[in-house]
Symmetry: C2
């Protein structure tokens, strides 16, 4: 009987554990805990009746096709709807530039799988989206992180580091960024920095992976053009864009898309074929209905108003319960679902997590958002899921818990 399975695994999977925070989430079953940990959109924003109606229609008119295999690249109707959707954002693509994915995570994995050999270098912000780290890690690249600034990636530091890496003959496969209301920090990259990042990309011929799941969820300020659209404007094709309908429509449907140069998309489509064949047609048709039949503009305005109020409650209560003398700082995002709290250096938020649970409040310890050399004194806060009352109460509990550590 085989007992030594571990030694049979591939080098890439042997030490691979997925998200390390799974174990922490298992501790959050107590219904009295107010969790600011998940990345969940609010069910209040789910288009429930609309989904029921769309489902009836899809199953009434198309059930045989829904139950059969469907094209790997995606349903023609969804491809067309996405192409239209992107026009509103000044992104102009053809079908050849687009592949439907089975979620944002899937889009990330197809990207890592397409580009990364072991020890290839991925550059990214510190902190950055943990799901991207987890996806890319399956290929065992080397991560080189650059501390993020209040207005986004530190382009000067990227330049320095790129030069240094190239001088050591290192292979940089891509730069991964979440320019809009970054998960976990809530930070948005300025227009100037987006252009400068493109300059870098052109100068050193390094592709940019732009992951922007929260782009439409802006509560303050003006929309900044996507890096993809800026690249198009400058006649480039250095950017691969990743999107998911998880935040705007719902996560449960598991549909997103990747856009980019035709040959990159074709290759990703090949990989998708070997990986899952096709995204289920029902789920795609539901997204098509969402994009074309559900009054999308109305929905976006409603989401913006709803999440803005939650953000305001959270920020206002933070001001009140974390006075300056506590030495705690936090970002003030203009959109998205997350903000980033920085505690005094000596506080390890992984330890704090267990204390916080005793205070019946939870967050994600910041270390999981660092691809290398994690900082220990940060928390990621999700403000989209809990109710306004819960958010205010959660801040009070957090404040007590942190005060204990400051004594």
């Amino acid at each position: 009987m085989i007992t030594n399975w571990l030694e049979r695994y591939s080098d890439n999977s042997r030490d691979y554990g997925g998200y390390s925070i799974g174990k922490l989430f298992a501790l959050l079953n107590d219904p009295e805990i107010i969790s600011l940990a998940g990345g969940l959109p609010s069910p209040d924003m789910f288009l429930k009746e609309e989904m029921r109606a769309a489902s009836r229609k899809i199953l009434q008119n198309n059930i045989e096709k829904v139950m059969q295999y469907s094209p790997i690249k995606g349903e023609n109707t969804l491809l067309a709807a996405i192409i239209d959707f992107l026009k509103n954002d000044n992104v102009f693509i053809k079908e050849e530039n687009l592949v439907v994915t089975s979620s944002g995570q899937h889009g990330l994995d197809l990207t890592g799988r397409l580009f990364l050999n072991q020890d290839d270098i991925v550059m990214l912000d510190r902190p950055t989206f943990a799901g991207a780290i987890v996806a890319f890690q399956m290929q065992r690249p080397k991560f080189v992180g650059i501390d993020i600034e209040d207005d986004g990636s530190n382009i000067d530091e990227y330049r320095k580091k790129i030069k240094e890496l190239l001088s050591r003959n290192k292979r940089i496969k891509f730069i991964y960024v979440v320019p809009d209301f970054q998960n976990p920090s809530g930070i948005t990259m300025s227009l100037e920095k987006r252009e400068k990042l493109l300059d870098l990309s052109y100068e050193f011929e390094i592709p940019i992976i732009e992951d922007s799941p929260y782009r439409d969820l802006r509560y303050y300020g003006e929309t900044i053009p996507s890096i993809f659209s800026l690249d198009q404007k400058r006649g480039g094709q250095n950017v691969i864009g990743l999107f998911t309908f998880s935040k705007l429509f719902c996560p449960g449907i598991r549909v997103g898309f990747n856009i980019g140069p035709a040959e990159v998309i074709e290759k990703m489509t090949n990989l998708k074929e070997g990986n899952v064949l096709n995204t289920p047609k029902y789920n795609q048709d539901m997204c098509t209905a969402f994009l074309t039949e559900m009054n999308l503009e109305n929905h976006i305005v409603k989401c913006r108003n709803y999440y803005r109020e939650k953000l305001n409650v959270f920020l206002k209560t933070m001001e009140e319960y974390f006075p300056p003398e506590m030495g705690v700082k936090w970002t003030k995002p203009e959109g998205g679902l997350f903000l980033w709290v920085t505690l005094p250096k000596h506080i390890d938020t992984h330890e704090l997590f267990y204390d916080a649970i005793k205070y019946k409040v939870a967050f994600v310890p910041g270390d999981v958002f660092f691809a290398e050399n994690p900082a220990k004194n940060h928390m990621r806060i999700n403000f989209s899921f809990a109710s306004k009352e819960q958010l205010a109460e959660a801040v009070k509990r957090l404040s007590k818990c942190v005060k204990d550590k400051l004594l």
Copy 2:
């Protein structure tokens, strides 16, 4: 602007093209062509009204959960339903032995990804399921194929080859088989050979991957115990089982599962997390309804009767239109969706494919079912999708087309 994308791809993906038959399928749009090429179950066997009713119920009672993220491993209700489903087949597992996949293809990819480094050896039958070849190829293993016999894998040849490989210090990661009504050949492995394959597995400590999507679709003869169940009976845990609901329920829903030792399943679940996070809950709930609310036994009986009739028509017409003097042979499957036609050696079925299209009939050239050193004179025939009338007509057209080549 980046133009040289190819050199940026990972070594594993650079030359990866997915299924090579995609291009052939694109030629089958002419509605007059009778296609025996696809692997499609018949929509006549789809539980359409049942799916509509189940969908209404799922969306009525559970829409918030359907629209939200759900567990990576799978919904508890589906896990329980699968565990029950397997008991009927004398397979007794716990939750820790089970992970829900987003289709059979997904189960194959998780398997390849978990075990295979470049140049590791995968042993498999000649021919074997093309989707498995395509999944494993993403890890660039070496394939070692053994010609299949009428009663399944040639275990003596496997043994010889294993010894030879081990004597050359080669690493054999697993043996992949489709023991029930194999795609593409329709061949079923005898009980004796299943036991002998297990002997091999124990002797040389080589895991067996048992892929059995057609297992319930038996039209003649007695069910033979799965290799997984035989292994359990002998106290082993050398077998990893792959299953999909694509053939029994419908492909469009994209749900399947992998079973095996707890530590293997945990690792596959980690890989699934980085790859797609979770299988959509709606699709899982639909499978749960299929397993627990839709009179599964009745459905299986209905499918068996329906597909048996089609198989009979096909075999009968073959007898009539391919008399012995033509030198054409074909398998007589006891179940499944496919059979395997062997033409005289000098006929290349890849070339014949284009002729056949002119005769308005299509099949899959057999070469794609060989992981290495493809034989050229075979066709895979699907008998589940076309109507009985079409099947008979297709055989007549095929016969004319082949006769042309024999002249």
